[in-house]
């Protein structure tokens, strides 16, 4: 923007001749490059500044002169080359930056002393409150998670809220901002809303008290029929097609649309919400729900996919809707899956059927939770061998839509990680205990609200052991293979396997809204907030970024601790004889998992999978039709990758054994 000057008497005359009026022309200022002929049928109220308008904009494929046409403008600063036309009521109290287009809008107003959605408190999980998350523009999933879930520490919460309130106070203003190159077209009422650079709002019905963050690299889109209040949308998000949002946060690259309603909920990076009703939900990264009749309520999700008609109850008509559900990362629900809350469903678990018990089984990840004759049954570890799990691990990083320069949500995509592996280790101990205590005459055991068939207890132990071996030993051998330079002695090999840092132990890990983080690091982080040594919310965000960068190191620390408990030596203490045993153990586990995943994949190409294909023809055409639509088992990219990995096991074993031989 440039320096502004008063209008000349000739300019005022021209404006009046062109149908313009002003409360006081002395309050209207313009800058160099202002073309008075490009302001028509416009009324000015209060102090208005107008920049250069000599350029053109393109709207609906037409080049049109910048300027102000058929509008009322009150107390606004308008940048260079702005196009404003057909304002039903008024644009009031806005800074409108360069290159903005505002056309066919009912009204855009900002009242005094507003925070544009910052400071709004969202009641996640417990509808009656208690886990409120205070919104602010740059909030990420980790800060939201700490607000919602670390309520046990009131000193931490108090200081955290102070940091957030300080941030919110800086957002307080008595004018809104439409940032450079934003477009607001064919919209209804816009009230107390900040709009970021390059954002596109088209056909929005009503938006109030919010911020639309946006950037040139990833513009945010708000489309037809959208109604929103008390909200923050992040860069590259999209809210479209009749979506209704009230008290909501939409993360970077997330999409909401097709009449989805979102209330008191947070949807973090790359989530997709269509058709569904979402109420008091903490939707961590990659929460996906696409179907009508689906209700997600009072629950935590991430990396998930909800089948049609998925539903939960958080209300037992006693103390109100107070129950909460936790669906750890990677859960999927089948059509009409139902869970009664409270419940805690383990990571990477498929929920099929209606579950009327309060299920609490966090230590059994990768399971199937099935309904059989009204009872909930658990098949532990079966999803370790699912092609779907392998595919998920591939697709999430590949589908990260975020293009903004700063990716706010810190995400670790690993399926097998200290978080899931430590749970499997605990789950295996529970299964072992249940197996030893259950008489052979018993058909089932009851644990955490589910029935487990006694015969399957040992299977669960076996499956978890395979996955634990594959992960711990696989990572150990990765480390050895990555060592730079040829080892001259076995001590060199061992040295490269040492763990540094204070978090080098087998301990609890958490999934803080997509960030896998050790309990020790969380405690340190909370202490730095609690003690007052952290002075701003951006410093806290920096700590989460640091935790993300340190994941590899922390993971290795965890592996060293768990490795010692599993195999009797730390990685840095393994001698060649044990090394060879471990190579064999890893190869066996890796091979078995590969074979079982490939077998699981075969079912996707079996005669069952071909039902209804080639329906008007014979068997040959059925097969051809199936191949044309679904491809072949051999040609499937996931299958090909698995086959390559299986082949790699053999060559890896050879190389590792050579290494052990060299130093024997």
């Amino acid at each position: 923007m440039q320096d502004f000057r008063d209008l000349s008497p000739e300019e005022i005359q021209t404006l009046e001749n062109n149908g313009c009026t002003a409360e006081g022309w002395q309050s209207v200022q313009v800058s160099t490059g202002f073309d008075v002929e490009r302001v028509r049928d416009t009324s000015f109220f209060g102090a208005v500044r107008i920049g250069s308008n000599s350029s053109q904009v393109t709207t609906c494929g037409l080049k049109r002169p910048c300027g102000i046409y058929r509008a009322s403008v009150a107390d606004c600063t308008i940048g260079d080359n702005v196009f404003i036309a057909n304002i039903g009521s008024v644009i009031r109290n806005y800074v409108i930056e360069d290159g903005v287009i505002i056309e066919d809008v009912s009204s855009m107003t900002t009242e005094e002393d507003v925070t544009f959605g910052n400071g709004v408190r969202i009641e996640v999980l417990n509808e009656t409150g208690g886990r409120e998350v205070t919104l602010f523009n740059e909030m990420n999933a980790q800060v939201a998670y700490a607000q919602a879930f670390y309520r046990h520490d009131s000193d931490f919460q108090k200081r955290l809220q102070q940091l957030i309130e300080e941030y919110v106070s800086h957002q307080r203003a008595d004018h809104g901002r439409i940032a450079a190159s934003a477009r607001v077209q064919s919209c209804g009422r816009v009230r107390n809303v900040n709009i970021g650079p390059h954002a596109v709002l088209q056909g929005v019905l009503r938006i109030e008290n919010g911020t639309v963050l946006s950037c040139a690299e990833h513009p945010t889109f708000v489309g037809a029929g959208v109604v929103m209040d008390h909200f923050i949308l992040s860069e590259g998000s999209s809210v479209d097609s009749g979506a209704i949002l009230s008290k909501a946060f939409v993360g970077q690259g997330a999409q909401v649309g097709k009449q989805c309603s979102v209330e008191n909920s947070l949807l973090f990076a790359n989530s997709e919400a269509f058709h569904t009703e979402i109420c008091s939900v903490f939707a961590g990264p990659y929460t996906v729900t696409h179907h009508k009749s689906t209700l997600l309520i009072a629950s935590l999700w991430s990396f998930s996919n909800a089948g049609s008609g998925t539903n939960q109850s958080n209300h037992m008509y006693k103390l109100g809707p107070v129950h909460q559900g936790v669906f750890e990362r990677g859960c999927k629900t089948g059509s009409f899956a139902y869970n009664m809350m409270p419940c805690h469903i383990p990571a990477f678990t498929a929920v099929i059927g209606k579950h009327m018990a309060n299920i609490d089984i966090p230590n059994f990840p990768f399971s199937y939770l099935l309904e059989e004759e009204g009872r909930s049954y658990l098949l532990m570890g079966i999803n370790i061998f699912s092609m779907g799990t392998v595919r998920d691990a591939e697709k999430w990083p590949a589908r990260d839509r975020r293009k903004a320069p700063v990716k706010r949500d810190q995400i670790i995509f690993d399926v097998f990680s200290p978080f899931t592996v430590e749970k499997m280790r605990r789950g295996r101990n529970i299964l072992q205990d249940l197996y030893e205590k259950t008489p052979r005459e018993e058909k089932t055991v009851h644990y955490g609200g589910v029935f487990i068939k006694r015969l399957l207890l040992r299977k669960g132990i076996r499956y978890y052991t395979l996955a634990i071996d594959c992960y711990l030993l696989g990572r150990y051998f990765d480390r050895i293979e990555k060592q730079t330079g040829p080892a001259r002695t076995w001590a060199d090999v061992q040295k490269g396997c040492r763990a540094d840092g204070s978090h080098a132990q087998a301990a609890e890990w958490a999934d803080m809204g997509g960030l896998l983080i050790s309990e020790g690091r969380i405690r340190d982080l909370m202490e730095s907030v609690r003690s007052g040594s952290m002075h701003s919310i951006s410093e806290l965000m920096g700590l989460f970024e640091g935790a993300h960068r340190a994941y590899g190191e922390d993971e290795w620390g965890y592996i060293c601790g768990a490795f010692e408990q599993e195999y009797g030596a730390r990685p840095s203490g393994v001698e060649p004889e044990l090394f060879r045993e471990l190579v064999e153990r890893w190869a066996s586990a890796a091979n078995t998992i590969s074979v079982l995943v490939l077998e699981n994949t075969k079912s996707e190409f079996s005669s069952f999978a071909q039902i209804s294909y080639g329906m008007d023809w014979g068997a040959e055409e059925r097969s051809d039709d199936f191949q044309a639509v679904r491809g072949t088992y051999e040609g499937n990219p996931v299958v090909r990758k698995l086959v390559r990995e299986k082949q790699r096991v053999e060559s890896r074993v050879g190389n590792l054994n050579k290494l052990a031989e060299k130093f024997s």
Partner: protein
């Protein structure tokens, strides 16, 4: 163990786990196609065989057993007379 005994026990376990009468089970029956053992039931069936014959089966090997006859042959090899 005698093959006849193995066959008898395989059929008994199969009938119990798949909830059907023993006389409906024929040696040539395919566990999935003829007896309706889907992939999840198959896991239970393998676990039941493991307990019945007090064996730990390698998953890769167990996958190769598709029919009742095949199961009898497989266990007969593991449990020689």
């Amino acid at each position: 163990m005698k093959k006849e005994e193995i066959a008898e026990r395989v059929i008994r376990v199969t009938a119990r786990e798949l909830k059907m009468s023993e006389d409906r089970i024929q040696p040539e029956h395919h566990f999935a196609h003829d007896l309706g053992a889907d992939s999840l039931k198959a896991i239970e069936l393998v676990a039941a065989f493991e307990e019945e014959f007090e064996l730990d089966l390698e998953e890769e090997e167990a996958l190769k057993v598709k029919t009742v006859d095949g199961a009898v042959d497989y266990f007969a090899e593991l449990l020689p007379e």
